[in-house]
Every structure is written in C-alpha cells, then in structure tokens.
C-alpha cells in the first residue's frame, strides 16, 4: 500500500525488492479494480465481442465456409429480403415471440402468485417448478417431440380416449398452425419457470404494510393485485420481459428438434434458418445476415426498456 511503503522509505528501508514494488503497484485502487475486471473482460471480448464482430463482418461479405469472400455491403440483406422463405421466417418469429411472450408473462405472474402463498412443501414446489428450465432443452424437447409424434402421440391418444378428439387427432408437426402451436407450447413450458421465479423474487420484496394498508381501506383481492402488486412488480417484469424477448426471438433448439423449420418453413425462426443457410448450405455471409437481421430491432427494444426501467 502506498502509505505503508512511504513509511518504510521514511524509515530508511532501502533496496525495496521488486516483488514488493510490484505488489505496491498492484494494490493501487485503479490498478486493482481494473485487474479484477480483466478476466471477465477477456472472456467477453473473446467469446462474445469477437464472434459478434466476425458475424457483422460475415454478414457484409460473400464469405463461404472456409473460403474468404469479399465485401458486398448490404447485398446479403437485400438478397434475403427478396427470398420468400426469409419473409415467412420474419413473420413466424413475430407470431412465435408475441404469443409465447404473452403466455409466459400472464402465466408467469399467476404461477408466482401461487408460489408466494404459504403452502405445504413450498420449497420442494419451488424447486420442482424450475425443472423445465434446468433440464437441457435439447433433451426435454425430445420428450415433447415424442408426445407430438404422428404415430405415437400420447397427447392424441389421451384426448381420443377421453372423447375430446376424433381419431386420428391433430397432426401436430405436419400442419402449420398446429406445428406453430406445438413449438410455442414447448417454449412457454420451458420459459415459464424463469418468469415465475424472478417475479416471485419481486413479489417477496413488496413490503407487507402496503397490503395491510390496502386491506384497511377495504380493497378487494383484485384491487390489491391491480393497485399494489402490479405497479411494484413493474420494474422486475420489465427486466424479465426484456430478457425473455431476446431469448424467445433467438430460440433454436426447440424448433430444430421438433420441426426443423417445417412444415414448409412455417416454423422457421431466425436461428434455425441461419443454421440451415449458413452452416448446412455453406453460405456464411447470408447465414450471418439472417441471424443479425433482428439486431437493430432488438437493440431498440432493449434501449427503450432500459430507459423505462431507469425512469422507474
């Protein structure tokens, strides 16, 4: 420490070792602080910033797997916009994200309210709720895929036995509407715990006094939710919705395992189409352009939501 060494110098201690000097340098606040950030910074630079920069570069070039291309400006973006399959994918992504996000937000708050109650086995229940979020998506989606199988669908089997469907029941992954419903269902199932647990944390932090005061004023259960819970949850909700928007837009596993973008491209999302075009088809430039297409729009969403959160 600076003071310590000066004290030593004053005391006439000469020939301070290199080790000690290095230590002194290290322990200055600005060096030490940056030093602590450095590992995280290097990680982000190598694993996030570098690939991201490369992706932007790829999207502006006619880069092929393994063979460098030349700069083509926004040529890739113009080309993908001219492709009907891509336009279909844009539409799919918006439908998918809008429905899945709404369902997750509504069900997530509802589930959080249930979990906040003092139930028996509360901890076990809260742990169990997290399961869909914890299991690797590729694995759990395989389970869903089997449930939607055209021949052995347990969903159809059960519903037919219960008399709710006429055999053979819906062709889940073969008809565009059903297929979209299927991928949305799995996405909601998987993303719900994230919503519920985060909202739960927000709920727990609302002081009891507000509710007591509301009750004294004769507020009904709905009014307490509408005028106490919801306004105080807003900041948490905004953050969760922000994250979830990004996650949902960028979903890959669920669609890839369930439908591979079919039937006839009606469930393709940006990530699955980018994989198909960029890696399987070898056209890295276009693949990157597809995956980056949403970037400006997501950037705007993030900007406004963060601003909103700060204002709150």
């Amino acid at each position: 420490m600076a003071i310590g060494s000066r004290a030593l110098e004053v005391a006439g201690a000469r020939g301070l070792g290199r080790w000690a000097r290095a230590r002194e340098w290290w322990e200055q606040e600005h060096v030490f602080g940056y030093g602590l950030i450095l590992p995280a910074f290097v990680l982000i630079a190598c694993l996030v910033a570098y690939p991201f920069g490369m992706a932007i570069y790829f999207s502006l070039s006619d880069y092929w797997v393994g063979s460098p291309g030349s700069f083509v400006g926004i040529g890739n973006f113009r080309e993908i916009l001219g492709n009907e399959v891509f336009r279909q994918t844009v539409w799919n992504s918006f439908v998918f994200t809008a429905i899945a996000l709404t369902a997750k937000a509504v069900l997530g708050v509802w589930l959080a309210l249930l979990l906040a109650r003092n139930l028996k086995g509360k901890r076990l229940l809260r742990g169990a709720v997290l399961l869909p979020w914890v299991i690797p998506t590729a694995l759990s989606t395989l389970g869903w895929w089997w449930m939607f199988d055209s021949l052995y669908s347990v969903v159809n089997w059960t519903a037919i036995r219960l008399g709710l469907m006429t055999p053979p029941g819906p062709n889940w992954l073969g008809m565009s509407t059903y297929a979209m419903a299927a991928v949305i269902t799995v996405n909601v199932w998987r993303g719900l715990p994230f919503f519920a647990i985060t909202v739960l944390a927000g709920l727990v932090s609302i002081p009891r006094e507000f509710y007591e005061a509301a009750e004294v004023d004769g507020a009904s259960a709905f009014a307490r939710f509408r005028y106490v819970t919801l306004p105080l949850l807003k900041p948490v909700l905004a953050v969760v919705i922000l994250f979830s928007t990004i996650f949902t837009f960028n979903d890959f596993n669920i669609v890839y395992v369930l439908t591979r973008g079919g039937p006839v491209n009606t469930t393709h999302l940006f990530a699955t189409l980018a994989y198909q075009v960029g890696l399987q088809g070898g056209n890295l430039g276009q693949g990157a352009a597809i995956s980056l297409f949403m970037l400006p729009m997501l950037g705007l969403v993030v900007f406004f939501q963060l601003r909103y959160i700060r204002r709150e």
């Binding site: 080790w19 797997v65 063979s67 021949l151 062709n171 073969g174 297929a179 088809g281 070898g282």
Partner: protein, 429 residues
Amino acid sequence: MSARVSRRHFLTSTAVVAGSLALDRAPSFAQKRELTFLSWNHFVPAADDELRKQAEAFGKQAGATVRVDTIAHLQLPAKRAAEAQSQSGHDLLLTGGADPYLFENQLADVGDLVDELGKKQGGWYPFAAESCQTKSGWKAVPWFWISFPATYNMAHFKKAGLEYPKTWAELLSHGKILKKQGNPVGIALSHCADANTTYWSVAWCHGAKVLEADGKTPALVSDKTAQVIEWYKELYRDAMEPEVLSWDDASNNRGILSGKLSWIHNPISPYNAALKEKMPIADDINHHPSPAGPAGTHSAPPINMVSIWKFSKNIPLAKDFLKFLFQKENYDAWIVASNAFNHPPLRHLADHPIWARNPKFAMLPKEAEYAHPRGWPAKPNDAVARVEVNYILPDMVAKAVNGMPTKRAMEWGQEQTALAVKGQLKASG
C-alpha cells in the same frame, strides 16, 4: 525476498522441465504420430466398432495412434464448418452429397489414391465417383453408399391380393386399395433427408429434372415436373395420411415396424432393426427394387465419402489408412458388421456373399446400375447442396398437396432453385 533468487529459481525449474521434455518426451512424440478421423454415429453401431478395431490395427502397423471420433450426423455440418474456419481439427473427415464441392478449396487432392484403388478393385461405380471429382481434382474417396430400395409388408399386400409395385403408377393404384384396408403407404414430404432422396428418384423416373446439365439453369418448370407433382398429390390424398408432412427420417421406419404402413421408400434399416430386436414382423418385411417410371428406373442413394483436410499434417499417413480400410478383408468385415447396410462403391468389393445369401437383400447391389448423384443430369455442385439443405423439392410438393395449384408450386420451386444457384460458390476463390 530477492528478485535474483526467484529469477534463478524460475530459470532452474524451467530448465528442468525443458530438459525432461527434451530427454524423454519429445522423442516419443516424434515416433508416435496421431491420425484423427471425424465420422458420424453409424446407423448400425456395430459398423463403428469394426471401424475402430481396424483403426487400431492400422495404428499398430504404422506406428501411429489413430483416433476415430463419431458424432451425430446432424452435428457434422457445424463441426466441419468450424474446422474449415479454424484450419485445425481432424485429418480425415466423413463427407457426403456435394461436400467435396462445398469444401473444394479446403480438401486435399486424393486422385492418386482413387486411381490406385479403382485399378485394384475393378473400378468405381460412376455415380459414386462423380460426386468426388471437382474441377480442381478428386476431393474425396467414395467410401460407401446406402441402397434405397422399397420396403414393404408382404402380409398387407397378400391380404389385398396384390404384388409389390413395379412402377410408381402401380404404387398409386395399389396404395389406394391398401389405404382402404387400413395400411397406407408412406413417402416423407417434410424437412428430412428421405424426402429429398425419394423426390429425385420419382422425378427422374418421370423424366423431370431440377437443373440443366450446365449445373446452373433451373429446369424445374416443365410438364414432367407437373406430372410428378400431380402424382404426389393423388398419392397423398388417396394412398397416404397427412402424417407424412411431419416425418423425420425415422418416422417411416416406425410406421412400418408398428404394422400400420404397408410400403415405404427407405434403406434396409427397419428390417435390420426388426431382426435385431427379434420382432415377429421381420418375417413379413421384404424389399423390392425402387419402382420404375415412364423414363425408366433411377435412384439417388446417399453416398458417403472420406476426405482429407488440406491443412492436415499427415496427408500421406491418412492415405495409407484409407488404403488399409479398402483392403478386401477389412472392407468385407465392415460390410458384415453393418449387416449389408454399407454398399461398396468399388465393383469387386460389391460381390460379397452377404447380399446373395439373403433373398431379401439379393437385389440391393443392382441399384448401383441405375443410380445417379443428386442434381443429375447436372454434375453435383454446391447449388444442388443448397436445393437439398433448404428442402426446396419436398416443400414444393408439400405446398401442392396442401392446396397450392401445381403450376404455382412449381414456379415457387423454380424461384427457390434460382436463388440457390445465384448464391453459387465461386470456383477456387
């Protein structure tokens, strides 16, 4: 603490490490070369076991360690792209379809090896060899192809009083009867490899094509393609069930093994699975040659090959390894391990008794005589690869069976094919 001491300490300890490396580690490194091979998880796992056994035997003989890494076939494209991009990874890799064209600039020339093996084993089947020869040389060695016959349930056909269909038209008329009997036929119309394979076969048998022989002029819009689409529409409506729109490559296997489907277009894997699991249905399942059409019989069996990365430091050793795999006794053992699933692309290796012995397999090797690489009459190229990975052909048919007028579906397919051609990789860029 004195800096000099610590520096000296550092120097001595480094010297010790370096010395030990120099004395006993480094020489052993130089002796033991490592050869690595990236392959897929074979559909018949015993084939991979045999491959690893042979790799070890070759390693002993050549004084090298040979490592065979297998991953799921769906993960291969990403892994390959990553290795090409980073110019590091395995020495050998499994390629297929139009990969030699896609990675033309990245793969080592293996012309000498192809030549030598061909001379020794009675020559290559043209359809297998054509997929490996790019403008800049041989970029892969054909390894094995997978026969794509029809698989049918004899009991269902017998019950309906029918013989197996010799033509696609017969499949349609038989299929109508079989569907009424509760045993529809099945051809995938979805995002899966089988859907592509069957489309090529049906289209060629009707004289239709996707690209002109020049490899860049879309040729989808034609009366022939319209006939193909109409045929598919009728088959879908009267002989199949809508589930074919959701199928993956294993769905038709399950469909025939469950006893529901009467006929599928597929490699012999369902039969092999039934044998392995000792399912009673194995007795009812049989194969027959892929049906014919007005323009003859044509088939597009999947072709798998082995390539060597240009960046590999062991190219001669890798070639020796391939020579070893193609020695008759080794290749034969590998065919047996795959239970007749792996077909040799070399004529002399093809007369293995495994096919002659089982009447249900007897006609399989003949498929080589009417097989073509995808894209034919065009040479395989990366545009063909994009037509395949984007599932343009099955999607075109799926649009039509879902109600889009045939002409419009065909124009959609043509437009998508034109886009696939437009993004064509410049040769040696």
